[in-house]
């Protein structure tokens, strides 16, 4: 079973070291809108896209509460369950803000996750590319492919 799926290659090394040292079960790196950049660990433990969307939502709503309190922002959020703990942390890179959702079990702790999370943030910041040069994305005649794709989705 592949232990990692990396959409952006520069995240691989800092993420691999973090999971090894912290003993986390799964770590997702994503945009504040919940789009996954990289995942490392036992992905079968959770539906990754749903977890990313929910993690981003938790971080968004707690940041909103922080704003209401006049507090700049919570840097990390932690929720300890019976068997698993969830840890959410922000990380600023040249392209903007990223979030990490860490799921850890009984063989780790929030202390270990926090200890090595600071190192992960440094690693991601060092590895992150500058803002990607803007380039046109799709061919002008993309509509045909879009229609075909949607039609097949809906079995039409």
């Amino acid at each position: 079973m592949r232990r990692s799926r990396v959409i952006e290659a520069w995240t691989y090394e800092p993420l691999e070291r973090f999971v090894r040292e912290s003993g986390a079960r799964l770590t997702l790196v994503m945009t504040p809108a919940g789009q996954v950049l990289a995942q490392f660990g036992f992905a079968r433990a959770v539906d990754v896209m749903a977890a990313a969307a929910l993690g981003a939502a938790v971080f968004a709503s707690s940041s909103e509460i922080a704003r209401l309190l006049g507090n700049l922002e919570f840097s990390t959020l932690h929720h300890r369950g019976h068997r698993f703990g969830i840890f959410l942390g922000g990380c600023a890179v040249p392209r903007g803000r990223l979030l990490a959702l860490v799921i850890y079990g009984e063989d780790s702790s929030v202390g270990l996750v926090q200890l090595f999370f600071d190192e992960l943030v440094r690693g991601l910041q060092e590895a992150a590319p500058e803002q990607e040069r803007s380039r046109p994305v799709l061919a002008a005649d993309f509509e045909r492919e879009l229609n075909d794709s949607l039609a097949s989705l809906f079995g039409r």
Binding site: R80, D107, S108, S109, V110, G111, L112, Q114, L115
Partner: protein, 116 residues
């Protein structure tokens, strides 16, 4: 910090060779209270001491020795002492390789009795 706890940590830091004393939540590996010298990182001590205590506990049970009460990790240039204070708490002392572990251990026992 409630007085007896602060006092107990302060007394631990007076033991020869001690760089810092902490009260740590064992499950979470988080600092509850600390008295450490400049340059000593309490968060790292708490996380690693708690993890070492957990692993040692598993090994001790596996060896039929039961639940650990006190750990003494000796390094070539430093020492870590960890005592279970009950209720998921750990008392931790970190110091040089010259640390008087016997005395640190006594101060920890005194701190636990004072808290009871």
């Amino acid at each position: 910090m409630i007085a007896p706890l602060a006092e107990a940590l302060d007394r631990m830091t007076r033991v020869g060779g001690v760089w810092g004393a902490l009260l740590v939540a064992a499950d979470d590996g988080l600092v509850i209270a600390e008295a450490v010298m400049e340059g000593i990182k309490p968060a790292a001590i708490a996380a690693l001491a708690a993890s070492l205590a957990r692993q040692s506990g598993i090994a001790s049970e596996a060896a039929g020795a039961g639940t650990p009460r006190f750990l003494h990790l000796q390094g070539a240039a430093g020492t870590l002492a960890v005592m279970s204070a009950g209720d998921g708490l750990l008392l931790v002392a970190v110091g040089s390789d010259e640390m008087n572990v016997g005395l640190a251990r006594l101060e920890m026992l005194r701190a636990i009795e004072a808290a009871e």
